[in-house]
């Protein structure tokens, strides 16, 4: 379906799929601690790889959590490089069509090494309960 993009992440039981606090506390590949980011992948296998890097080499398959959750979001028709989505606290699902969020694209050089990954950054909008998520399709941007 045009304009629809599916992203994946694997997270443990008891954590919400749009919970960005892990990256906020520990930091991640593209963000230092203090910045809430939700990391997702363009394919479930890539999400698995991101998990395996933390696990035992020989027995990583046994360490993988049983809960594999896929997330899907829809992109605006005109957006080929970026996607803005908003997740309200009341909604467990991602919805499309942010209207009150600004989107600024940033591409650190280090991201070019991982063209298949996606990065979503949450940014609070005023006092609203909603958060803006900046979505950056690295594969498309590096191919453009």
């Amino acid at each position: 379906m045009p304009g629809v993009i599916r992203v994946y992440c694997i997270f443990n039981h008891g954590r919400a799929p749009n919970d960005s606090m892990g990256a906020h506390i520990a930091g991640g590949r593209w963000n230092p601690p203090g910045y809430p980011v939700l990391y997702t992948s363009s394919h479930l296998s890539l999400a698995c790889l991101e998990k395996l890097i933390h696990l035992r080499l020989r027995y990583a398959w046994a360490d993988l959590p049983g809960d594999l959750t896929s997330l899907m979001s829809t992109a605006p028709p005109s957006a080929t490089r970026t996607l803005i989505i908003v997740a309200g606290k009341s909604s467990p699902y991602w919805t499309a069509g942010a209207t009150n969020a600004s989107c600024r694209i940033h591409q650190p050089a280090s991201q070019a090494r991982h063209p298949s990954a996606f990065c979503v950054t949450f940014k609070a909008v005023g006092n609203s309960a909603a958060v803006a998520q900046r979505f950056f399709d690295l594969r498309k941007s590096t191919c453009a």
Partner: protein, 83 residues
């Protein structure tokens, strides 16, 4: 039957990152992996994300930065953060 394990909140993890301790990290590892045996196996294995060091050696080093490295790795596993 597997016992349900209470999840450490983000606020508690934040405090733990600021003041890491070996017992608390081992407890959190049990929570992340689901049981003590799997957590113990993880502590005695070389982990690519930790530059092939064993997390067990790092947490027993009494070096706060090493403790923090292991803890952050566990948080990344828990939340699915790319390292």
């Amino acid at each position: 039957m597997q016992m349900a394990i209470a999840r450490t909140s983000a606020a508690e993890l934040q405090v733990l990152v600021e003041h890491p301790s070996e017992p608390a990290i081992r407890e959190y590892a049990t929570e992340v992996f689901g049981d003590r045996d799997r957590a113990a196996e993880w502590f005695y294995s070389e982990i690519p994300g930790l530059a092939f060091e064993t997390s067990g050696a790092l947490v027993t080093s009494a070096d706060e930065e090493s403790l923090r490295r292991v803890l952050k790795t566990l948080i990344q596993i828990d939340y699915g953060v790319c390292a």
